[in-house]
Amino acid sequence: METQKSIKLVCITKTFGEVTANDAVCLEIHAGEILSLLGENGSGKTTLMNVLSGIYAPDGGNIFVNGNKVTIRSPKDAFALGIGMIHQHFKLVDVLTAAENIVLGLNENKLVDLKNVRIRVKEICDRYGFVVDPDRKVFDMSVSEKQTLEIVKVIYRGADILILDEPTAVLTPQETDKLFAVMRNMKADGKAIVIITHKLHEVMEISDRVAVLRRGKYIGDIPTGDTNPQELTDMMVGRAVSLNIDRTEPQNLTERVTVRNLTVRDIDGVKRLDNISFTAYGGEILGIAGITGSGQKELLEAIAGLQNIEPGASITYLPREGKQVELVGKTPQDIKNLGVALAFVPEDRLGMGLVGNMDVSDNMMLKSYRSGKSVFTDRKTPRELAQQVVESLEVMTPSLSTPVRRLSGGNVQKVLVGREIAGNPALLMTAYAVRGLDINTSYTIYRLLNEQKMRGTAVVYVGEDLDALLELCDRILVLCAGKVSGIVEGRTAKKEEVGLLMTHLGEGAKA
């Protein structure tokens, strides 16, 4: 066995312009231990780990490895110290093969010697239980394969301190279990692992110790065995927070939107949605579960009028006041005016719905600039709305006039969801509304969705976290490869049952 490594971060400070991301943070990492780094969005977890892995240069503070003071100026320095980070957005080159990605930047030989790489990759895979095909190109890989490749890459480089930034955010429950098994193998092998995650049940399951950050400051650390989710949440938020989703019984159910025989093809003619039929009621939350890319996006967009729908489909919609209307064939603008709101949070968060270079109030204005009679736009109302969203959702921004792009991912999302809810919709569709959000903000959003439900809004909630889906939704529609695999009751369904429906077509598909 090599010597037991330990890393000590002392008083690390990092600022971005006016925002202090890390304020004199101290942290210890030990070999043979899994440490969870916990904190709300924008609390500086990722920044801190980026400092440790050489991506950001700290403005102050010291790093000690085995008691010796070190300076980490670049990722290369970090590798030399055995520190490897698996980023939330994978650092892989799509057009290269797995093996090429692994040796990238190593310059072991003058010529690229893939034969040797294959042998060593196989050794690593056998040791920890990975499956990686070294000759596969990255653009052909699934998310979970890419993640495995990232881990293998870091180990290949001799890392014995692994930092995983929200590794489970994109995985199915089965894939998460596999990842955790591998992490335990690595721990047993004497490696130190730091995992950043928002999911408290994962923290409890996998980690030995938890360190908590709040608004860039270090709050404390605690052995996982001595704590519970409630205490951790309170540490993270700084006050007591209720961890229960208040699921009221649906009342006054009214048929809000009925989808019949909906089929959508993409540009290549591949069916993304195949003969989908369901009804969403006002006064309930309809969850939509499925592996990423099973047609969730297309479904919401079809209702919002953004997709080309194959003939034979009907989408009937009942506004709060007025008669039933057919949505197929209407323009997105008309549909929006009928009270249909769509808050889609794509993987890059800024891709749809918000404009990165515009500030919070201008982004609010995107929805309202058409209204009003004057040739000049009304800037006052959007600014008030922005103020309101920033306050009620605790958006961390230096000011209302900061470009949204500069905010941390979670805060960007709060702005988007806050704006859609503020429109007082009759049908509110959200996709991945809590993706990457911390626990406190997630619950704020759940609460907002529940408020909408009680106001008689039909809420369609596309989610990734099955636990949250099962706690929040009244019914869950499970998609599998563009088909309805089944519709289950949120109160009685089991997680395993939903997980199975996600991967295999259930009986609902035959009906």
Binding site: F16, S53, I55, Y56, S74, P75, K76, F79, M85, H87, K91, L92, V93, D94, V95, L96, E100, V103, L104, G105, L106, N107, E108, N109, K110, L111, V112, K137, F139, R405, R406
Partner: protein, 328 residues
């Protein structure tokens, strides 16, 4: 038959100019830098080589051919690299917009070269047209024996100056370098995804600078070849280099960023560009239609490649984008 051989020869000479340009630009673009200053860089290479040998020939009673060639190559390469350095400084360090910078570089270098070209003509006095006869002859020396033996094959393959073979050699070497060496792999990664390359410990800025400067140096040789071989050692400010420079940019796209594909692509462009000259019965009007062919072929290739969705034939993903590590 003679017509066809003549067409092929003209095509290869023409193609060599743009092959240099395209090979250099491919190297640059592999690092994610879109240098639209290729025509300008070729201007720089042409004028620098010309100035260098002009003064050498003027001040030496009996110029040595090898020295002439060395001076021309060196001057062209170094000044073109300075052009690339200017582009790098603006786009990599100062993160200026690459398209704007490239176009500006073309305009600047065109004016720069024509200004000094005109001055040289004045210096040369007499008929108002300079000529570096010795150097030009050296550049156009063919391999003794081979070009006359072997009949028409010899004429097609061996009737050129050494720069034609140098262009092929550089293109082949570049292809090998990019695909087989660790440095080449790193370079591809920088152009595809600089953040990833950075996280893998690759010095992104260094790679971008080197690729852009060396790429510009290679492109500049195209300008030198144009002046020494194509124009037989004279300067002419009718914008011929610029036209060929844009063709070189088109050739990079045509070859889908593969230097070896650029070799035959450049000859194809050359043949297509000269076709109007060899087809009988063309009017001035229909001639212009035939001059469009290389561009038309590029458009068709672009359409076919886009339709096939092949990830292997795409431009480097971060082409034209600046990289700043701490950008959020």
């Amino acid at each position: 038959m003679k017509q066809i051989i003549s067409l092929i020869q003209a095509g290869i000479v023409f193609g060599t100019v743009i092959l240099f340009g395209a090979t250099g630009e491919t190297l640059t673009e592999k690092s994610g830098n879109l240098n639209l200053g290729v025509p300008g860089i070729m201007y720089l290479g042409g004028i620098a080589g010309l100035i260098g040998v002009f003064f050498y020939e003027m001040n030496t009673p009996v110029p040595n051919k090898l020295v002439c060639i060395a001076i021309a190559l060196l001057c062209a390469f170094i000044v073109s690299m300075l052009g690339g350095l200017l582009f790098s400084l603006l786009t990599i360090t100062l993160r200026a917009n690459q398209n704007v910078t490239g176009l500006t570089l073309t305009i600047f270098a065109g004016g720069f070269a024509n200004f000094f070209g005109g001055s040289l003509n004045k210096l040369a006095g007499g008929v108002g047209q300079i000529s570096v006869a010795v150097t030009s002859a050296a550049f156009r020396t063919t391999i003794p024996g081979l070009s006359n033996a072997l009949g028409s094959i010899g004429q097609i393959l061996f009737s050129y100056g050494f720069m034609v073979y140098l262009a092929i050699a550089i293109a082949v070497a570049l292809a090998w370098y990019i695909n087989n060496t660790s440095v080449g792999l790193n370079l591809r990664a920088v152009g595809e995804n600089p953040a990833t390359a950075d996280a893998a410990g690759i010095h992104v800025t260094k790679y971008k600078y080197l690729a852009t400067c060396i790429g510009a140096g290679i492109s500049g040789l195209g300008g030198l070849y144009y002046v020494m071989d194509y124009m037989k050692g004279t300067w002419d400010s009718d914008g011929g280099i610029e036209r060929l420079g844009w063709l070189a940019v088109a050739l990079v796209i045509f070859s889908s960023w593969k230097p070896k594909r650029g070799i035959w692509g450049s000859y194809l462009f050359g043949v297509l560009s000269w076709l109007y000259f060899y087809l009988p019965g063309l009017t001035r009007r229909s001639m212009e239609l035939f001059k469009m062919l290389p561009y038309l072929v590029t458009v068709i290739v672009l359409i076919v490649v886009s339709l096939r969705h092949s990830r292997d034939n795409q431009p480097p993903t971060s082409l034209g984008l600046p990289y700043f590590r701490e950008e959020r």
